[in-house]
Amino acid sequence: MQLNVNGQNHQIDADPEMPLLWALRDLLNIKGPKFGCGVAACGACTVLLDGMPVRSCSLPVADAAGEITTIEGIALDGTLHRVQRAWIEHNVPQCGYCQSGQILAAVALLEETPQPTDQDIDFAMTNLCRCGTYPRIKAAIKTAAGMES
């Protein structure tokens, strides 16, 4: 089986039912996507598949045809993505465990809706954060969008 992750092709030998998350983490040692729930409820495992946010814990690796982008793949030539920079500016993370998924969900939101309203953010950002960093995530998304926050 072949996976295209962050612009690189990888040959893997896996049970086709294995969730993409575990293929990334355990077979390819790409640790950015995190395991939180295994049932697509929390979004810690979010990756982009052809630009769309997907919950990799519930996507069989056999169905992961397309270009996969993980948190490791959004910085370009050593420059952090504007969403990552906004995350730093607002000191968003606490424990940080959900933030790979949060950042990728935000990247996808801004691709789709460059100037999101509060409601757009509420609807798109369904990733869970146990530390309660939501207010700062919202502010950072607006900063990344070039909006006042």
Binding site: D26, K31, F35, G36, A41, N91, Q94, I137
Partner: protein
């Protein structure tokens, strides 16, 4: 020593040590010498570096390593502890290399144990301070390295600054010797010692080797007015890693030749497996072995595989049957045990003043009665429990995100039959802790599996379902309250009976089994008996419920429910008095000067939120104040109830005495409040047939982005002593929310979660 004085101290000692439980044995046996003796420095200098003290090493290449021996679980403690060193060492915080360091007695936590003293925080009498001092010294004697009780900043405040000041003095002394001048004439800045007269300078790296042997005196700490780093918001030290998905958590550990595993432990606590389809599990692609796991924290199976998902599938294929529960096995039976406890004799009353019976027998005012309850709760850290272990050549190595590395070391070593000296614990980042990661079960299971892998390392990851159903839960609790409230005045009689199982007994029995337990467990009534109120007849009693379900420390511990009990009942008393909730609270404080920070916080938050202003239809505002972990926190919650309830805005005024990092302090308040709202809105752990009903986030919900309110926060610094930050936002959240809903709808919520009776907006 005069006989009389001795007997007073002796009484305090006995009471204190028994109350602590964990420290009970050692207490009387250790003398003053043990308190004065400093534990051994665990750091060993590598080639080309110098160790200055247990917290600082400097190498010739200029690398300055600071050991921040408290677990970084999101509270920002590494940043703040490093800032303390930076302040005194004259180095930019960003130039420090920060590490958790090894487990060691040198990293004992005194402040956490001081918090266990019984007197209310505002009681600074000689006896109260003596009790705190004794408790704190137990932390040192036991060498207890733990992160909890919102104590890390308080505990580190002097230790870390002294470490920085001592190192700086040594570096100056080394430079002075090289240049043949008096050290007092030298200056330090940006990791460099300078002689302003000759304009010579040397970097700390260049001086490191000489400085290690320099003799320095007692360091003098800089006054607050000279601070350049402390008191100012710092960027989170590990923020770059956390926005780039760097492999920093326990679950990210990857080692050569590593295996992957999981566990299936009996969901009936303490029960043994009756049957399991071992062959089916072994036949799952990728599963290498299935082994039995028998530990003090649980019995069941370990699955060893070549990837984590295969291990999960193997565990599922086991289809195991488990033995029966030995405790009340469902919610009704649990409620029955709590009811029986509250109807029985009190086990202790840490507040017992005046004459309750007389006050209630002839009430001069309205008699107010209410019953409150809360369910069991899980921690639900985002990162499920996991640890990695390797047992090779008689050496055990553990990688774990742990709040208690010393306990992990001793317990895992004993389990594996390895000497503690041959056991290494690597503390990695924690994807949330909240008290859960002070337990030993997850590293213990990793150790158990590592005993079957012929020397290969194995990472053992729990499924979310395993995590939810094998927690050490915040206990269920039941409260029955009575008060006598005259019209337009404060209550003259308040009785609070609170029934709950003992967290201390559960933790000590499970995690510190060698230490006996005895005496009052403060956590049962913590947040109820020690609040800023002055009542003529006042009794807050604890009623121990016999429930052998494992319980543990959950963000703000007893305060997580007693804040709700105390402040919820406060509002009911206010209604009986005819005063509004704010005025009534102020009246309940009397004129006691020690309670000034509470008054200031309440008045500030009322002003910020325009609390007294009329509410539009459907909207409500609720107020609460809880003093916990030495910090005073007042909160106003505003809800819109025109449709399903939405929490729109939250105002907080908090006083922790001294704030070292204002932005992080605010972030912690928001975090704690959201944790408290999650609890209040929809979280509960139920029991059926001796096992936890809930499985995952879909049936154990937390607050979402769309539900999260806006926050406005003011920090006050009136209090004389430094308080905590990590847990203090949680206790007032539930009662302020309940009060806001009552304000809008007239419906009084006395039982968590509130979704039992009302609906909250879903996005």
């Amino acid at each position: 020593m005069a006989r009389k004085k001795r007997s007073i101290v002796g009484k305090i000692v006995r009471r204190t040590f028994l109350g602590l439980g964990a420290a009970a044995v050692g207490g009387v046996a250790f003398g003053v010498w043990a308190v004065r003796r400093d534990p051994e420095n665990p750091l060993v200098a590598d080639q080309g570096e110098s160790v200055f003290n247990p917290y600082i090493k400097i190498s010739q290449d200029g690398t300055i390593t600071v050991i921040t021996p408290r677990a970084e679980m999101g509270q920002g403690i590494q940043t703040t502890l490093a800032a303390m060193v930076a302040e005194e060492l004259d180095v930019a915080p960003s130039d420090l290399t920060i590490a958790h360091g090894p487990p060691a007695a040198a990293y004992y936590n005194s402040a956490m144990l001081e918090e266990g003293a019984f007197p209310p925080h505002f009681d600074r009498s000689f006896a109260a301070e003596a009790q705190r001092g004794l408790m704190g010294s137990m932390g040192k004697i036991l060498g207890l390295q733990a992160t909890g009780g919102s104590s890390s900043t308080i505990d580190g405040f002097n230790k870390m600054r002294e470490a920085g000041a001592t190192a700086r003095a040594a570096l100056k002394s080394a430079a002075a010797a090289r240049w043949g001048v008096n050290a007092d004439t030298l200056q330090t800045a940006n990791g460099t010692v300078t002689n302003p007269v000759s304009d010579q300078s040397l970097t700390y790296g260049e001086l490191a080797m000489d400085a290690a042997t320099a003799e320095v005196g007692e360091p003098e700490l800089r006054p607050r007015s000279d601070w350049k780093i402390l008191g100012r918001s710092q960027p989170r030290a590990e923020i770059a890693e956390k926005v780039t998905g760097a492999p920093i958590y326990g679950i990210d550990v990857e080692l050569p030749d590593m295996l992957y595993g999981t566990v299936a432990i009996s969901p009936r606590f303490g029960a043994q497996p009756l049957s399991a389809d071992i062959d089916a599990a072994r036949n799952v692609r990728g599963v290498i072995d299935v082994v039995e796991v028998n530990t003090q924290t649980g019995n069941g199976y370990g699955i060893i595989a070549d990837n984590t998902w295969a291990a999960f599938e193997g565990a599922r294929a086991l289809n195991a049957e488990w033995g029966p529960a030995t405790y009340p096995a469902n919610d009704n039976a649990i409620t029955g045990a709590l009811t029986a406890a509250i109807q029985g004799e009190a086990n202790h009353a840490l507040m017992d003043k005046g004459d309750i019976d007389a006050g209630l027998a002839d009430p001069q005012g309205t008699l107010v009665e209410a019953e409150y309850s809360v369910p069991y709760l899980a921690h639900a850290t985002m990162e499920p429990m996991n640890a990695t272990a390797q047992l090779a050549d008689g050496h055990l190595t553990i990688w774990a995100g742990t709040q208690a590395p010393g306990i992990v070391q001793s317990r895992c070593a004993a389990f594996a039959g390895v000497e503690k000296e041959n056991t290494t614990v690597n503390t990695v980042m924690l994807g949330g802790g909240f008290g859960r990661r002070g337990e030993v079960d997850f590293p213990l299971y990793a150790t158990a599996l590592a005993m079957h892998t012929a020397g290969r390392p194995i990472k053992v990851t729990w499924t979310r379902e395993e995590d939810t159903q094998h927690d050490v839960y915040r206990p269920a609790a039941l409260g029955r309250f009575r008060a006598v409230v005259p019209a337009n005045g404060p209550a003259t009689t308040v009785e609070m009976k609170i029934a709950s199982p003992s967290i201390m007994a559960s933790v000590v029995g499970r995690t510190y089994p060698d230490l006996p337990m005895g005496g009052p467990d403060k956590s049962i009534t913590d947040g109820a008996y020690n609040q800023p109120v002055m009542v003529e007849n006042h009794r807050v009693s604890a009623h121990l419920a016999d429930l052998a379900i494992p319980v543990g420390f959950w963000r703000s511990v007893g305060n997580s429910y007693n804040g709700f009990f105390h402040e919820g009942f406060m509002d009911e008393m206010a209604a009986a008095s005819g005063l509004d909730p704010l005025t009534f609270r102020l009246a309940m404080m009397g004129n006691d000067e020690r309670l000034a920070p509470a008054r200031a916080c309440l008045e500030k938050v009322a002003q910020m939120s325009n609390y007294a202003a009329p509410r539009p239809t459907g909207k409500g505002r609720g107020i609460a104040h809880v003093l916990s972990f030495g910090s005073w926190v007042a909160m106003v919650v505003e809800v819109d109830t025109t449709d399903d309830i939405h929490i729109e805005k939250v105002w907080i005024a908090a006083d922790p005495g001294t704030v070292l990092d204002p932005r992080n302090f605010r972030d912690q308040l928001m975090s704690g409040a959201i944790f408290g709202f999650s609890q209040a809105m929809g979280q509960q752990i139920n029991f059926e047939d001796g096992r936890v009903v809930q499985e995952n986030f879909w049936d154990y919900p937390m607050m979402t982005m769309g539900q999260a309110p806006q926050f406005e926060i003011e920090i006050l610094q009136n209090a004389e002593t430094m308080g905590g930050a990590g847990e203090i936002g949680t206790p007032p959240a539930a009662p302020a929310l309940a009060a806001a809903i009552f304000d809008a709808t007239g419906q009084r919520l006395r039982h968590m979660p509130f979704t039992r009776e009302v609906s909250f907006q879903q996005v």
